[in-house]
Amino acid sequence: MGSFISKNEFPVEGRTVLITGASKGLGLEAARQLAEKGASVIIVARGEDSLKKAIAYISKSARSPDIQRFHFISADVSTAPECVRVLTETIEWNGGSPPDIVWCCSGSAHPTLFIDTPLDQFQIMMDSNYFSCVYMAHTVLNAWLRPSTGLEQPESDFPQTARSIPPPARHIIFTGSFVSFYSFTGYTSYSPSKAAIRALSDSLSQEMNLYAAAHPTLPRVRVHTVFPATMPTQSLEDENRVKTDLTKSLEEGDQILQPDECARRAIRGLENGDELIPTSTIIRLVLTSVLGGSVRGGFWRGLANTLLGWVVMVVMIFIRWEMDTKVRNWGRKYGSSGMLKKE
């Protein structure tokens, strides 16, 4: 609303948002909050029943119910053809235009010890966490950036005003995890998929500079990854059923965040223009120490992050050492199953 201090880098009013993994948890809450902010929303998940309930919940929050539209698509986004179908249906529903924002929340975790994890679980996690992002990104970016596919809106639809304001950016958002940065016992088959998402996000973000500079009149594409804190959701319950007692003990004392608060923080980060978005204090601190070449939002913010990062780097030494000691002592005391002995 004309603030000189901070510009909203993630305007959603009157725009269309496609969210996968949105029938529960973080995806559902993000969808609801974006509806509150005036977006039209399409949600994607596998179960039709939960999708129907979700749509009812989301649309109730619509700021302008007469203008905003809501839709759901039942699909399994862990395969490429399904992602293509989702986008095609979305474009059709959206009057021939691709969505402005795509948010990939679908994913799953199976936190058992590496050797105890069935091999098919590895594939399942890589497909539902990492490849679903790859497929969605591939199909959406093609629609946004390749005019020859016929799906892109011709440049003349973005009228050049006298002041030549560039059209609002388009956004693609992935979901990472604390274990993208810091993996430990029990997450060995899950964390690589989350580390891969972070790496993909970084390289895509760099590549988008190329397209943006080549076509300054087309909407820029911003690439983001949100790193959610632990949330008390259905997915967490499913995880905890297989999780080893050892992993549970390593996670004791973790900050737990309700999904709607997590979504709120994610959206705040997006509005701030951040690329790698932490949602809890611990994740924010870890992030400052691992940024490396990841985009950081200007020199002064980068410097502040670097200084904070130095402090965290020192703290991290103790955290890692303590965790390794815990695991070693557990092994000494309880053997190698990772489970407390059942009497």
């Binding site: 895509l204 691992v290 092994g331």
Partner: protein
């Protein structure tokens, strides 16, 4: 593991090493170096002709040609079953003993802009760089850590372990065999993925994450080995298991030549001042790091800096160095990061939209 440690933490003389991706490039360099250091070497790759040529090259470097043995196995390591077969054959060839060192070195890069890369290629990059290593790790660690179970490929070691456990030996008296090593070859791209390496960088970052968490988990098994309680499940293996990961940069190899066919100009631009190493240089640096007892081994100065700038949750090899230099490197990123962004931007401005290659 400090500045003054001279102990060799990676002795290979008389040991058997199973090495994948051993027919060319860094793998071939490693094979030769390990032969020179007295190891028996089994190399694994797909192409039989390349394997046989590499085998001759490697065995010619043997320090003790009369006692050292060399073997090659042709396999497609992107399947879990093939990895189990390779281990079984390797063990059988090695007189019924599992190799003490297993090195998942196989990998290949197909660099291109994300939109110029097909879905099939992106999956294939994960197959060859991540799954091959994961399946090998799964099969190897399972067999090493549970030698008395049926999934073991080594019959003689299981007898030894069962009788030791049955004797109710306390941790102090349980015989300890030399540490076994599982090594992953990742890449310095894992520390900072850049334009044009999308799927490859993601796979290598996945490997880094796998190594970090496996390193954490191995504490469990190594700790269990020292447990004085025998009522804690299956008897532990009589040796520690350690995992290491290598992070090379640019290597002048057949693989590198292949990359140049698809690599985008902007990626070449970003890499242009990176140090380049020959297969022998990179093998030497990798093994030296392992001998120093390092967990994360960079092979040149750039990899070192990139590593310390991205330490995050990984265990530190040298706490002081990693933290101090890491701090400096992080400061450097303030300038390097935006500089890389600008390079990519300017390329786009100059050259326009990349032509679709499909």
């Amino acid at each position: 593991m400090g500045f003054f440690s001279r102990k060799n933490h990676f002795p290979v003389d008389g040991k058997t090493v199973l090495l994948t991706g051993g027919s060319q490039g860094m793998g071939r360099g490693l094979g030769k170096l390990l032969a020179q250091k007295g190891a028996n070497v089994i190399i694994v790759a797909r192409d039989v002709k390349k394997l046989q040529a590499a085998l001759e090259y490697i065995s010619a470097a043997a320090a003790k040609p009369k006692t050292q043995r060399f073997h090659c196995i042709s396999a497609d390591l992107t399947s879990a079953a093939e990895n189990v077969r390779v281990l079984t054959e390797a063990t059988a060839w090695n007189n019924g003993q599992m190799p003490e060192i297993v090195w998942a070195n196989a990998g290949a890069s197909h660099p291109a802009l994300f939109l110029d890369t097909s879905i099939e290629t992106m999956r294939q990059q994960m197959e060859v760089n991540y799954w091959a290593a994961t399946y090998l790790a799964h099969a190897t660690l399972k067999a090493w850590l549970y030698p008395s179970t049926k999934t073991s490929t080594s019959s003689s070691s299981s007898t030894t372990t069962s009788s030791a456990a049955a004797a109710g030996a306390s941790s102090a008296k349980r015989p300890a065999l030399p540490t076994r090593h599982f090594i992953l070859t990742s890449s310095s791209i894992a520390f900072c993925n850049v334009a044009g390496y999308g799927a490859y960088g993601a796979a290598k970052a996945g490997l880094r994450s796998l190594a970090d968490s496996l390193r954490s988990e191995l504490n469990l098994y190594n700790g269990a080995r020292r447990s004085s309680s025998t009522a804690t499940g299956p008897p532990p293996a009589p040796y520690d298991v350690q995992i290491h990961a290598i992070y090379p940069g640019t290597i002048l190899s057949p693989g590198h030549e292949n990359e140049q066919k698809t690599k985008h100009a902007v990626t070449t631009l970003l890499e242009e001042s990176d140090p380049r190493q020959s297969e022998d240089e990179v093998a030497g640096a990798a093994v030296r790091g392992l001998e120093r007892g390092e967990y994360m081994v960079a092979t040149n100065w750039l990899g070192q800096l990139m590593r310390v700038a991205a330490m995050q949750g990984s265990p530190r090899d040298n706490v002081v160095w990693d933290t101090v230099v890491g701090g400096v490197a992080n400061l450097a990123w303030l300038f390097i990061g935006p500089d890389m962004e600008a390079k990519v931007w300017n390329w786009g401005k100059k050259n326009g939209m990349p032509k679709p290659t499909w």
